[in-house]
């Protein structure tokens, strides 16, 4: 009997259109999600953690682990105007970006408020890939107005991507047969064969969101499970483990990377006036290249640079071992002058310090900083006021993250 496929589906599942999408790696990840700890990201079913967030964090720092970035937004921007359109959109100078290289960028509104950050891959002289955390097609289309020789393709659902992070990753990829992977420098791109292919369908970039040695693997969806299986076979002896959102958030905080909804509010989603941030407030000065004659938000940012930002994102080393989650910050121990707030906080096992990222009123940045920390102890609420020390160097920046070739294991 022939039945209409659609009708059949809706009969089977009346909520079919409402359900979260499955990642291209889902069959394998579902098997390993021992705690069924699912949440969602950009409409995909997405793991908070698979087994234990701390265990996964330690895999990132001590062996190797995979993080599903299929739900990350990916756009191909190609054509003769692609370079010009992107270079006007982002604050960095893309003239410095060579082919087969990746660069970290951010982009702003006309008023210089941060919309989002992400990475741009230069795949060819007229072909780029932009990746970012939130859907950005509307902004890309607005940005493309006036550029005729341009095509924007949303690759988000059509490109499988897996982040592979940790000190033993290079070793595992070598074992998997990616010849020459040890020569791949940070932010460079290489292509490899996989599963007997001959047209090098696997793209590998030495990038990541953990501040550690790591790679991101990009491949067509139909080869996603082949990639997974080969990687996990090679990584078996190296303790390979999938990790979720929770471990990512720990690793990125140690690396000092910012997160939307934590350190910044995406400008296009911000309702209250200037409740969003500027790159200067987020300490992304190094991303803003005023040698470039024009980019979106330039004149507003120039004004801000000269005036000095109202707030500054800072790294804090906080006394004690109680994470300063959501703490208010004060200029004095009596908590009479409020000067800012903590955006992300944790006890860092690798740094062995109580660390945090925080937004502080620039006028108070050089004075003493106190955090009022609330914590629970067996159902009772406690609070304490502790001193914070401003830290300028990154919390965590191991040599292996930059060395080429990376240390062998």
């Amino acid at each position: 009997m022939k039945t209409d496929n659609k009708t059949q589906t809706s009969k089977l599942d009346p909520y079919a259109g409402e359900r979260l999408k499955r990642s291209h790696f889902h069959p394998r990840q579902a098997e390993l999600n021992l705690r069924d700890a699912w949440s969602s990201w950009n409409g995909y079913k997405f793991a908070d953690y698979y087994y234990d967030e701390e265990y996964e964090y330690f895999c990132i720092r001590n062996s190797c682990a995979t993080y599903d970035i299929c739900p990350m937004q990916k756009y191909r921007i190609s054509g003769a105007d692609a370079h010009f359109m992107l270079n006007r959109m982002v604050t960095r100078d893309l003239n410095k970006l060579k082919e087969d290289r990746v660069t970290y960028v951010c982009w702003c509104t006309d008023q210089g408020r941060l919309i989002d950050d992400g990475t741009i891959f230069k795949l060819g002289s007229e072909s780029f890939m932009l990746t970012c955390g939130s859907p950005s097609l509307a902004w890309l289309r607005k940005s493309a107005l006036g550029f005729e020789r341009l095509e924007i393709t949303d690759l988000s659902d059509d490109l499988a991507a897996l982040s592979f992070q940790g000190p033993t990753t290079c070793e595992v990829l070598k074992k998997m047969g990616l010849e020459g992977i040890q020569n791949l420098k940070p932010f460079n791109i290489m292509y490899f064969d996989i599963g007997g292919s001959s047209h090098k369908p696997l793209m590998v970039s030495r990038t990541g969101f953990t501040g550690d040695l790591g790679y991101e693997l990009w491949i067509a969806p139909q080869l996603a499970l082949t990639l997974w299986d080969e990687l996990y076979a090679a990584g078996d002896d190296y303790g390979i483990q999938p990790y979720g959102e929770a471990a990512t958030n720990m690793a990125r905080l140690e690396a000092g990377f910012i997160m939307p909804g934590m350190e910044f509010n995406e400008a296009l989603k911000t309702v209250n006036y200037q409740y969003d941030q500027t790159p200067f407030e987020l300490n992304l000065d190094w991303l803003v290249d005023f040698n470039k004659p024009h980019f979106n938000g330039r004149s507003a940012l120039l004004e801000e640079r000269d005036r000095g930002p109202k707030y500054r994102l800072v790294k804090l080393d906080i006394a004690g071992n109680k994470p300063a989650d959501e703490s208010a910050l004060y200029a004095d121990q009596k908590c009479s002058v409020e000067i800012g707030y903590v955006t992300s906080a944790m006890w860092s096992p690798v740094v062995k310090a109580n660390i945090a990222l925080a937004m502080i009123d620039s006028d108070y940045i050089d004075g003493s900083i106190w955090a009022e920390i609330y914590y629970g102890k067996e159902l009772r609420h406690h609070s304490k006021v502790v001193r914070c020390v401003l830290q300028n160097a990154p919390f965590w920046a191991p040599d292996r993250a930059r060395l080429t070739p990376p240390p062998a294991f």
């Binding site: 359109m85 509104t109 607005k142 107005l145 040698n291 004659p293």
Partner: protein, 518 residues
């Protein structure tokens, strides 16, 4: 290498006005015109051997201030007398409107008209200083900006309690309500609402800026009445040209600008000059564009040099024109029933619904089933427009969409031309026998012949959201643009279009004030 103080794009009246003011202040000025004739939409050209006409066929509010500042009357411009406006009636019971009175209406309508006229003149008087002022920048704390705001508030307050309340009430009132409140005659209502509507994408029932547009037109010498200069509109354009040349300015025709050149370095961007169609590159300290904002920013400058949200705002400017132009070469005078000499401005719109229905057709991309229009025979006032004893008929046909469903095919154009001629012939029985040649220009034709986006008279719709300090959009509403060295001086800037000269005058003053700091 010649390096001008100012290059002005476009020799329309605003470009020429701006250029003349700058040249008189001793600046070097080069005006570049794409076509072979000066005047832009006001250019007079031969459309058939011996017969001449321009897209603009009369003046309603050319600034008296500019006439006096530039001493135009000493350069061959002789203003014409105000023409009556005649609402045509099929049975010859025409309504004739002049500033002082009406003919063809009841005593009651006449009495109302006197009061109505006085009220509008008080309003127009209150607004008139602001058409020649730079509008304040929103959020600006600059003294000049605050003063303009304060003056506007004071002027409004000085109207007195009653008039102020009335002004606030009628400023954005649909023309229909204003007319219904004051008059009984359908024809009179249609004729009086006309000046708030012509050139815009608005009809009597549209709330927006129709009353403001009327008041804008009333800023002129004859309080909004149309007139034709003694030697035609050409004499105004020639006078502006003469003043400019006498002051050392230069004009080049057949010199279409294809690109505004921009230099970029670590200090940012700066306009450096222009490139012409033949590849010639010209340098200037300032480029001042009288082209429409869309053309200036999106075609000549390029989005690459602009900010993203600004680019999108410019792109969303409503620039579709809704007025077509009919030109007839006549081998003798066309007679209009019940009119001795058709030397007035005649309006074909029997009642406000006729206007509204024509608009309804157009707003969905249709051609009007019963076109409404304004007709002038300029050759009666200015004999140089046609050979001896012959005449030219010029009509603004309203609510002809720029984008016609199915496109402006030759057939669609011919049909509308025929319909328009038939409509006029209802009032002028001998018209068809007199026609030697007919030309019909859709907004699309006007766009391509006059390099105006959408063929729009005002370059961009003169409506509340695109007026005053929002014209054409904020960040470009004070003649300066986001690109240092690039300025606007065309109808797309405050106060707007029509043969007025305000944008050119205001831009020149802004440039001179800004130049003091350079």
């Amino acid at each position: 290498m010649q390096h001008y103080d100012n290059i002005i794009i476009g020799a329309g009246h605003n470009g020429l006005v701006c250029a003349a003011y700058l040249a008189k202040k001793g600046q070097s000025v080069l005006v570049l015109e794409a076509s072979d004739t000066l005047g832009g939409l006001a250019a007079t050209r031969e459309f058939y051997p011996g017969y001449k006409v321009g897209v603009a066929h009369s003046l309603s509010h050319f600034s008296a201030q500019i006439v006096s500042d530039l001493n135009l009357t000493a350069h061959g411009y002789i203003p014409g007398a105000p023409m009556p406006t005649i609402g045509l009636d099929l049975e010859g019971k025409h309504v004739v409107v002049t500033r002082d009175g009406l003919r063809g209406v009841s005593k009651k309508d006449l009495d109302s008209y006197i009061d109505y006229r006085q009220l509008l003149e008080r309003f127009a008087g209150m607004l008139s200083p602001f058409w020649l002022k730079t509008m304040p920048r929103i959020g600006s704390k600059k003294f000049a900006d605050l003063t303009t705001f304060a003056q506007l508030g004071l002027k409004l307050r000085l109207l007195g309690k009653r008039d102020m309340g009335e002004f606030m009430r009628v400023a954005t009132l649909p023309a229909r309500d204003l007319m219904d409140e004051n008059f009984d005659s359908d024809l009179l209502k249609a004729v009086l609402s006309w000046d708030g509507l012509i050139g815009s994408k608005m009809a009597p029932r549209s709330p927006n800026a129709t009353v403001l547009a009327m008041l804008y037109r009333m800023s002129g010498e004859h309080h909004g009445a149309s007139s034709i200069p003694k030697d035609g509109i050409e004499s105004l354009i020639n006078a502006l040209h003469l003043v400019l040349v006498n002051a050392g300015g230069q004009v080049r025709c057949n010199a279409p600008v294809t690109k505004i050149n921009v230099k970029g370095d670590s200090t940012g961007l700066r306009a450096t000059g222009v490139e012409l169609a033949d590849g010639e590159i010209l340098h200037a300290r300032r480029v001042i564009s009288s082209a429409d904002p869309k053309r200036t920013f999106l075609q000549l400058l390029g989005a690459e040099h602009l900010e993203i949200e600004f680019t999108n705002r410019i792109n969303r400017l409503r620039c579709d024109g809704y007025v077509a132009k009919l030109h007839l070469a006549l081998d003798g005078l066309a007679h209009f029933s019940g009119i001795d000499i058709p030397d007035g401005r005649m309006i074909v719109a029997p009642h406000m619904d006729s206007i509204e229905f024509a608009f309804d057709d157009a707003k969905y991309g249709g051609s009007p089933a019963q076109p409404v229009m304004e007709i002038v025979l300029p050759s009666i006032n200015d004999s140089s427009m046609a050979p001896d004893g012959k005449h030219v008929l010029s009509a603004h046909v309203m609510y002809v969409p720029y984008s016609l469903k199915g496109g402006w095919t030759a057939e669609a154009k011919a049909n509308l031309q025929d319909l328009t001629i038939d409509t006029i012939a209802q009032y002028s029985p001998n018209l068809r026998d007199r026609i030697v040649h007919a030309e019909f220009l859709t907004p699309e034709d006007i766009e391509s012949s006059h390099h105006v986006t959408g063929g729009h008279w005002h370059h961009t719709e003169l409506s509340m959201d695109q007026m005053l300090m929002m014209r054409p959009t904020y960040q470009a509403a004070q003649y300066a643009t986001p690109i240092p060295g690039l300025f606007l001086c065309g109808a797309g800037s405050h106060p707007g279009g029509g043969l007025m000269g305000g944008p050119g005058h205001n831009a020149a003053r802004h440039v001179l004030a800004a130049g003091k700091g350079l």
